[in-house]
Protein backbone atom coordinates (compact mmCIF):
# COMPACT_ATOMS: atom_id res chain seq x y z
CA UNK A 1 0.00 0.00 0.00
CA UNK A 2 2.82 2.34 1.00
CA UNK A 3 4.57 1.70 -2.32
CA UNK A 4 1.42 2.47 -4.25
CA UNK A 5 0.90 5.76 -2.38
CA UNK A 6 4.50 6.87 -2.85
CA UNK A 7 4.30 5.90 -6.53
CA UNK A 8 1.16 7.98 -6.98
CA UNK A 9 2.73 10.88 -5.13
CA UNK A 10 5.83 10.72 -7.31
CA UNK A 11 3.76 10.62 -10.50
CA UNK A 12 1.75 13.65 -9.32
CA UNK A 13 4.91 15.60 -8.51
CA UNK A 14 6.53 14.64 -11.81
CA UNK A 15 3.45 15.62 -13.78
CA UNK A 16 3.04 18.93 -12.00
CA UNK A 17 6.72 19.75 -12.37
CA UNK A 18 6.49 19.23 -16.13
CA UNK A 19 4.59 22.55 -16.12
CA UNK A 20 2.57 22.10 -19.27
CA UNK A 21 0.66 25.00 -20.81
CA UNK A 22 -2.28 26.34 -18.89
CA UNK A 23 -5.67 25.69 -20.39
CA UNK A 24 -8.29 28.40 -20.00
CA UNK A 25 -11.79 29.09 -21.21
CA UNK A 26 -12.09 31.89 -23.81
CA UNK A 27 -12.98 34.64 -21.32
CA UNK A 28 -10.23 33.67 -18.86
CA UNK A 29 -7.83 33.43 -21.81
CA UNK A 30 -8.61 37.01 -22.86
CA UNK A 31 -8.23 38.21 -19.28
CA UNK A 32 -4.85 36.46 -19.08
CA UNK A 33 -3.69 38.12 -22.28
CA UNK A 34 -4.80 41.58 -21.15
CA UNK A 35 -3.28 41.33 -17.67
CA UNK A 36 -0.05 43.36 -17.74
CA UNK A 37 1.36 41.05 -15.03
CA UNK A 38 1.63 38.27 -17.62
CA UNK A 39 3.86 40.41 -19.82
CA UNK A 40 1.76 40.29 -22.98
CA UNK A 41 0.39 43.82 -22.66
CA UNK A 42 2.98 46.56 -22.43
CA UNK A 43 2.57 50.25 -21.74
CA UNK A 44 4.82 53.08 -22.88
CA UNK A 45 4.08 56.49 -21.40
CA UNK A 46 5.43 59.45 -23.32
CA UNK A 47 4.48 63.05 -22.63
CA UNK A 48 0.80 63.51 -23.38
CA UNK A 49 0.25 59.97 -24.70
CA UNK A 50 0.13 56.45 -23.46
CA UNK A 51 0.66 53.52 -25.83
CA UNK A 52 -0.78 50.17 -24.83
CA UNK A 53 0.68 47.41 -26.95
CA UNK A 54 -1.12 44.09 -26.75
CA UNK A 55 0.44 40.93 -28.13
CA UNK A 56 -2.46 39.37 -30.03
CA UNK A 57 -2.03 35.91 -31.53
CA UNK A 58 -4.75 34.63 -33.85
CA UNK A 59 -6.37 32.73 -30.91
CA UNK A 60 -6.80 35.98 -28.98
CA UNK A 61 -8.35 37.92 -31.86
CA UNK A 62 -10.66 35.06 -32.80
CA UNK A 63 -11.71 34.60 -29.16
CA UNK A 64 -12.52 38.29 -28.85
CA UNK A 65 -14.80 37.97 -31.83
CA UNK A 66 -16.44 34.63 -31.06
CA UNK A 67 -16.20 34.03 -27.31
CA UNK A 68 -19.98 34.00 -26.83
CA UNK A 69 -20.47 31.30 -29.46
CA UNK A 70 -17.47 29.42 -28.11
CA UNK A 71 -19.00 29.33 -24.65
CA UNK A 72 -22.04 27.66 -26.21
CA UNK A 73 -19.71 25.15 -27.86
CA UNK A 74 -20.21 26.59 -31.37
CA UNK A 75 -16.80 26.68 -32.99
CA UNK A 76 -17.47 27.33 -36.71
CA UNK A 77 -16.79 31.07 -36.66
CA UNK A 78 -13.72 30.66 -34.47
CA UNK A 79 -12.26 27.97 -36.72
CA UNK A 80 -12.88 30.00 -39.88
CA UNK A 81 -11.26 33.06 -38.34
CA UNK A 82 -8.29 31.03 -37.16
CA UNK A 83 -7.85 29.63 -40.66
CA UNK A 84 -7.91 33.15 -42.14
CA UNK A 85 -5.26 34.42 -39.72
CA UNK A 86 -3.06 31.32 -39.79
CA UNK A 87 0.68 32.01 -40.01
CA UNK A 88 0.42 35.56 -38.71
CA UNK A 89 1.14 37.30 -35.47
CA UNK A 90 -0.69 40.48 -34.52
CA UNK A 91 -0.35 43.42 -32.17
CA UNK A 92 -2.97 45.91 -31.05
CA UNK A 93 -1.58 49.37 -30.45
CA UNK A 94 -3.98 51.54 -28.44
CA UNK A 95 -3.06 55.21 -28.27
CA UNK A 96 -4.55 57.05 -25.29
CA UNK A 97 -4.24 60.76 -24.68
CA UNK A 98 -3.18 61.02 -21.02
CA UNK A 99 -5.41 62.80 -18.57
CA UNK A 100 -8.02 63.58 -21.23
CA UNK A 101 -10.40 64.75 -18.51
CA UNK A 102 -7.92 67.41 -17.42
CA UNK A 103 -7.61 68.97 -20.87
CA UNK A 104 -8.91 72.47 -21.38
CA UNK A 105 -11.58 73.19 -24.00
CA UNK A 106 -9.05 74.96 -26.21
CA UNK A 107 -6.73 71.93 -26.06
CA UNK A 108 -9.61 69.68 -27.10
CA UNK A 109 -10.55 71.99 -29.96
CA UNK A 110 -6.94 71.97 -31.20
CA UNK A 111 -6.95 68.19 -31.04
CA UNK A 112 -10.22 67.97 -32.93
CA UNK A 113 -8.88 70.31 -35.59
CA UNK A 114 -5.99 67.94 -36.06
CA UNK A 115 -8.26 64.91 -36.37
CA UNK A 116 -8.13 64.84 -40.16
CA UNK A 117 -4.34 64.97 -40.18
CA UNK A 118 -4.21 62.27 -37.52
CA UNK A 119 -6.45 59.93 -39.48
CA UNK A 120 -4.46 60.59 -42.66
CA UNK A 121 -1.20 59.71 -40.96
CA UNK A 122 -2.41 56.62 -39.13
CA UNK A 123 -4.34 55.29 -42.12
CA UNK A 124 -1.76 55.89 -44.80
CA UNK A 125 1.72 56.29 -43.42
CA UNK A 126 2.06 54.81 -39.97
CA UNK A 127 2.48 51.26 -41.32
CA UNK A 128 5.88 52.33 -42.69
CA UNK A 129 6.94 53.44 -39.22
CA UNK A 130 6.31 50.09 -37.54
CA UNK A 131 8.77 47.25 -37.53
CA UNK A 132 8.99 43.89 -35.76
CA UNK A 133 12.38 42.70 -34.59
CA UNK A 134 12.46 38.95 -34.07
CA UNK A 135 15.82 37.40 -33.32
CA UNK A 136 18.23 38.92 -35.81
CA UNK A 137 15.57 39.88 -38.33
CA UNK A 138 13.47 42.96 -38.85
CA UNK A 139 10.14 42.71 -40.59
CA UNK A 140 7.67 45.23 -41.95
CA UNK A 141 3.93 44.68 -41.38
CA UNK A 142 2.05 42.44 -43.78
CA UNK A 143 -1.35 43.64 -42.61
CA UNK A 144 -2.28 46.96 -41.09
CA UNK A 145 -5.59 48.52 -40.04
CA UNK A 146 -6.28 51.79 -38.26
CA UNK A 147 -9.64 51.67 -36.54
CA UNK A 148 -11.09 55.14 -36.86
CA UNK A 149 -13.30 55.67 -33.81
CA UNK A 150 -14.68 59.01 -35.04
CA UNK A 151 -13.96 60.49 -31.64
CA UNK A 152 -16.33 58.06 -29.93
CA UNK A 153 -13.80 56.25 -27.76
CA UNK A 154 -10.99 57.77 -25.71
CA UNK A 155 -8.33 55.90 -27.64
CA UNK A 156 -7.40 54.95 -31.19
CA UNK A 157 -6.43 51.43 -32.16
CA UNK A 158 -3.99 50.14 -34.72
CA UNK A 159 -4.05 46.45 -35.61
CA UNK A 160 -0.78 45.38 -37.14
CA UNK A 161 0.11 41.90 -38.37
CA UNK A 162 3.31 40.17 -39.45
CA UNK A 163 3.61 37.00 -41.47
CA UNK A 164 5.58 34.18 -39.89
CA UNK A 165 5.91 32.11 -36.73
CA UNK A 166 7.84 33.91 -34.00
CA UNK A 167 6.90 31.80 -30.99
CA UNK A 168 10.48 30.63 -30.42
CA UNK A 169 12.20 34.01 -30.45
CA UNK A 170 12.29 37.20 -28.42
CA UNK A 171 10.21 39.81 -30.21
CA UNK A 172 10.23 43.57 -30.14
CA UNK A 173 7.69 45.85 -31.79
CA UNK A 174 9.12 49.27 -32.62
CA UNK A 175 6.89 52.18 -33.59
CA UNK A 176 8.16 55.63 -34.56
CA UNK A 177 4.99 57.69 -34.24
CA UNK A 178 5.56 60.67 -36.50
CA UNK A 179 2.14 62.17 -35.79
CA UNK A 180 2.81 62.69 -32.07
CA UNK A 181 6.58 63.08 -32.71
CA UNK A 182 7.31 60.11 -30.48
CA UNK A 183 10.20 58.01 -31.68
CA UNK A 184 11.25 54.54 -30.55
CA UNK A 185 8.16 53.23 -28.82
CA UNK A 186 9.30 49.71 -28.01
CA UNK A 187 7.45 46.72 -26.64
CA UNK A 188 9.47 43.58 -26.01
CA UNK A 189 8.07 40.09 -25.54
CA UNK A 190 10.46 37.40 -24.38
CA UNK A 191 10.50 33.76 -25.46
CA UNK A 192 9.59 32.78 -21.91
CA UNK A 193 6.49 34.98 -21.90
CA UNK A 194 5.46 33.59 -25.26
CA UNK A 195 6.08 29.96 -24.34
CA UNK A 196 3.90 30.40 -21.23
CA UNK A 197 0.92 31.36 -23.39
CA UNK A 198 -2.13 29.38 -22.28
CA UNK A 199 -4.25 27.36 -24.67
CA UNK A 200 -8.02 27.65 -25.01
CA UNK A 201 -10.39 24.98 -23.81
CA UNK A 202 -13.94 24.91 -25.07
CA UNK A 203 -16.80 22.79 -23.80
CA UNK A 204 -18.39 21.03 -26.72
CA UNK A 205 -21.97 19.82 -26.85
Amino acid sequence: MRKVISGLLLTTILLSSCGGRKTLNPVAYMEYMEDAENGLMKTVTVGAYEYHIQFAPAEYLASRQYYKEMEQGVMDGYKKRMEAMKGHVFFLVNIYPRKASEQTISERITQNAGAEQRVMYYQQQAANDIVLKAGAFEQMPSTYVYEDNYGLSPYNTIVVGFAGDYSKEDMQLIFNDRYTHTPLIKAGFSKDELSALPSISVKTN
Binding site: K42, T43, T45, V46, I53, K186, G188
Partner: protein
Protein backbone atom coordinates in the same frame (compact mmCIF):
# COMPACT_ATOMS: atom_id res chain seq x y z
CA UNK B 1 21.88 21.48 40.42
CA UNK B 2 18.25 20.99 41.16
CA UNK B 3 15.50 20.95 38.57
CA UNK B 4 14.27 24.42 39.48
CA UNK B 5 17.68 25.96 38.86
CA UNK B 6 17.97 24.26 35.46
CA UNK B 7 14.55 25.45 34.34
CA UNK B 8 15.46 29.00 35.48
CA UNK B 9 18.65 28.90 33.42
CA UNK B 10 16.67 27.63 30.45
CA UNK B 11 14.18 30.47 30.81
CA UNK B 12 16.96 33.06 30.97
CA UNK B 13 18.71 31.54 27.97
CA UNK B 14 15.45 31.63 26.00
CA UNK B 15 14.89 35.28 26.84
CA UNK B 16 18.51 36.13 26.02
CA UNK B 17 18.44 34.35 22.64
CA UNK B 18 15.12 35.99 21.78
CA UNK B 19 16.66 39.39 22.54
CA UNK B 20 19.75 38.63 20.45
CA UNK B 21 17.51 37.53 17.57
CA UNK B 22 15.41 40.68 17.87
CA UNK B 23 18.45 42.97 17.88
CA UNK B 24 19.92 41.05 14.91
CA UNK B 25 16.68 41.34 12.97
CA UNK B 26 16.45 45.08 13.68
CA UNK B 27 20.07 45.52 12.56
CA UNK B 28 19.45 43.55 9.34
CA UNK B 29 16.27 45.49 8.63
CA UNK B 30 18.16 48.75 9.07
CA UNK B 31 20.81 47.54 6.63
CA UNK B 32 18.36 46.23 4.06
CA UNK B 33 15.90 49.10 4.35
CA UNK B 34 15.75 51.10 1.10
CA UNK B 35 17.16 54.61 1.30
CA UNK B 36 14.55 57.30 1.91
CA UNK B 37 16.67 59.80 0.03
CA UNK B 38 18.84 59.00 -2.96
CA UNK B 39 20.63 60.96 -5.61
CA UNK B 40 21.16 60.49 -9.32
CA UNK B 41 24.05 61.71 -11.44
CA UNK B 42 22.03 63.29 -14.25
CA UNK B 43 24.91 63.43 -16.75
CA UNK B 44 25.70 59.76 -16.28
CA UNK B 45 21.99 58.90 -16.38
CA UNK B 46 21.34 60.64 -19.70
CA UNK B 47 24.47 59.31 -21.39
CA UNK B 48 23.73 55.79 -20.16
CA UNK B 49 20.13 55.81 -21.33
CA UNK B 50 19.82 53.64 -24.43
CA UNK B 51 17.18 55.87 -26.03
CA UNK B 52 19.62 58.79 -26.03
CA UNK B 53 22.21 56.60 -27.75
CA UNK B 54 19.65 55.48 -30.37
CA UNK B 55 18.46 59.03 -31.06
CA UNK B 56 22.05 60.31 -31.26
CA UNK B 57 22.81 57.59 -33.78
CA UNK B 58 19.83 58.64 -35.93
CA UNK B 59 20.75 62.33 -35.74
CA UNK B 60 24.38 61.56 -36.60
CA UNK B 61 23.31 59.93 -39.86
CA UNK B 62 21.59 63.18 -40.93
CA UNK B 63 24.46 65.34 -39.69
CA UNK B 64 26.90 63.18 -41.59
CA UNK B 65 24.88 63.76 -44.77
CA UNK B 66 25.00 67.54 -44.37
CA UNK B 67 28.69 67.35 -43.52
CA UNK B 68 29.47 65.38 -46.65
CA UNK B 69 27.82 68.11 -48.77
CA UNK B 70 29.87 70.72 -46.95
CA UNK B 71 33.07 68.66 -47.47
CA UNK B 72 32.34 68.34 -51.20
CA UNK B 73 31.89 72.10 -51.52
CA UNK B 74 35.15 72.68 -49.64
CA UNK B 75 36.94 70.32 -52.05
CA UNK B 76 35.59 72.22 -55.06
CA UNK B 77 36.70 75.48 -53.48
CA UNK B 78 40.19 74.06 -52.99
CA UNK B 79 40.29 72.90 -56.63
CA UNK B 80 39.49 76.37 -57.95
CA UNK B 81 41.85 78.12 -55.57
CA UNK B 82 42.52 81.73 -56.59
CA UNK B 83 39.34 82.08 -58.68
CA UNK B 84 36.58 84.16 -57.06
CA UNK B 85 33.58 81.89 -56.38
CA UNK B 86 30.86 84.03 -54.73
CA UNK B 87 28.08 81.50 -55.44
CA UNK B 88 30.09 78.61 -54.06
CA UNK B 89 31.00 80.68 -51.00
CA UNK B 90 27.40 81.49 -50.22
CA UNK B 91 26.42 77.84 -50.78
CA UNK B 92 29.14 76.68 -48.42
CA UNK B 93 28.11 79.25 -45.86
CA UNK B 94 24.51 78.10 -46.11
CA UNK B 95 25.41 74.42 -45.68
CA UNK B 96 27.58 75.21 -42.66
CA UNK B 97 24.74 77.23 -41.18
CA UNK B 98 22.30 74.37 -41.86
CA UNK B 99 24.68 71.96 -40.14
CA UNK B 100 24.88 74.17 -37.07
CA UNK B 101 21.11 74.67 -37.01
CA UNK B 102 20.37 70.98 -37.37
CA UNK B 103 22.90 70.11 -34.69
CA UNK B 104 21.35 72.53 -32.20
CA UNK B 105 17.79 71.59 -33.04
CA UNK B 106 18.43 67.85 -32.85
CA UNK B 107 20.18 68.25 -29.49
CA UNK B 108 17.24 70.21 -28.15
CA UNK B 109 14.68 67.77 -29.50
CA UNK B 110 16.60 64.69 -28.23
CA UNK B 111 16.75 66.21 -24.77
CA UNK B 112 13.00 66.98 -24.83
CA UNK B 113 12.10 63.48 -26.00
CA UNK B 114 14.29 61.84 -23.41
CA UNK B 115 12.81 63.79 -20.51
CA UNK B 116 9.28 63.17 -21.77
CA UNK B 117 10.06 59.46 -21.46
CA UNK B 118 12.10 59.64 -18.26
CA UNK B 119 9.81 61.71 -16.04
CA UNK B 120 6.94 59.22 -15.61
CA UNK B 121 9.38 56.33 -15.28
CA UNK B 122 11.38 58.09 -12.56
CA UNK B 123 8.21 58.62 -10.58
CA UNK B 124 7.44 54.93 -10.96
CA UNK B 125 11.01 53.99 -9.99
CA UNK B 126 10.83 56.09 -6.84
CA UNK B 127 7.55 54.53 -5.82
CA UNK B 128 8.70 50.98 -6.55
CA UNK B 129 11.95 51.41 -4.60
CA UNK B 130 10.12 53.30 -1.81
CA UNK B 131 12.38 56.32 -2.16
CA UNK B 132 10.80 59.45 -0.73
CA UNK B 133 13.13 61.97 -2.32
CA UNK B 134 15.23 61.53 -5.44
CA UNK B 135 17.72 64.33 -6.00
CA UNK B 136 19.36 65.01 -9.34
CA UNK B 137 23.05 65.85 -9.12
CA UNK B 138 24.04 67.75 -12.22
CA UNK B 139 27.49 68.96 -11.20
CA UNK B 140 26.20 72.48 -10.60
CA UNK B 141 26.09 72.18 -6.85
CA UNK B 142 22.64 70.74 -6.28
CA UNK B 143 24.29 67.93 -4.35
CA UNK B 144 27.41 69.03 -2.49
CA UNK B 145 28.09 65.65 -0.95
CA UNK B 146 26.45 62.28 -1.33
CA UNK B 147 27.33 58.96 0.21
CA UNK B 148 28.05 56.35 -2.48
CA UNK B 149 25.50 54.13 -0.74
CA UNK B 150 22.64 56.38 -1.81
CA UNK B 151 23.90 56.93 -5.36
CA UNK B 152 21.20 55.10 -7.34
CA UNK B 153 22.41 56.14 -10.81
CA UNK B 154 23.51 52.71 -12.03
CA UNK B 155 20.40 51.02 -10.67
CA UNK B 156 18.16 53.63 -12.31
CA UNK B 157 19.96 53.33 -15.67
CA UNK B 158 19.45 49.55 -15.57
CA UNK B 159 15.78 50.03 -14.66
CA UNK B 160 15.15 52.63 -17.38
CA UNK B 161 16.92 50.67 -20.12
CA UNK B 162 14.87 47.59 -19.23
CA UNK B 163 11.64 49.59 -19.50
CA UNK B 164 12.81 51.22 -22.74
CA UNK B 165 13.50 47.94 -24.49
CA UNK B 166 10.49 46.01 -23.18
CA UNK B 167 7.85 48.56 -22.28
CA UNK B 168 6.23 48.74 -18.92
Amino acid sequence: MDKRMISKIYAWLTVLSAMVLLIGAAFCWQLMKPADVAYIDIGKLVSGYQMKKDLDKQANVDLQRIKSVSDSLKMIKKAVLGTPTPRLDSQLQYVQYAFQQYYEQSNRSISEKIWERLNPLMEQYGKERKIRLLVGANGAGTVLYGDKGIDMTDDLIKYLNGKYEKGN
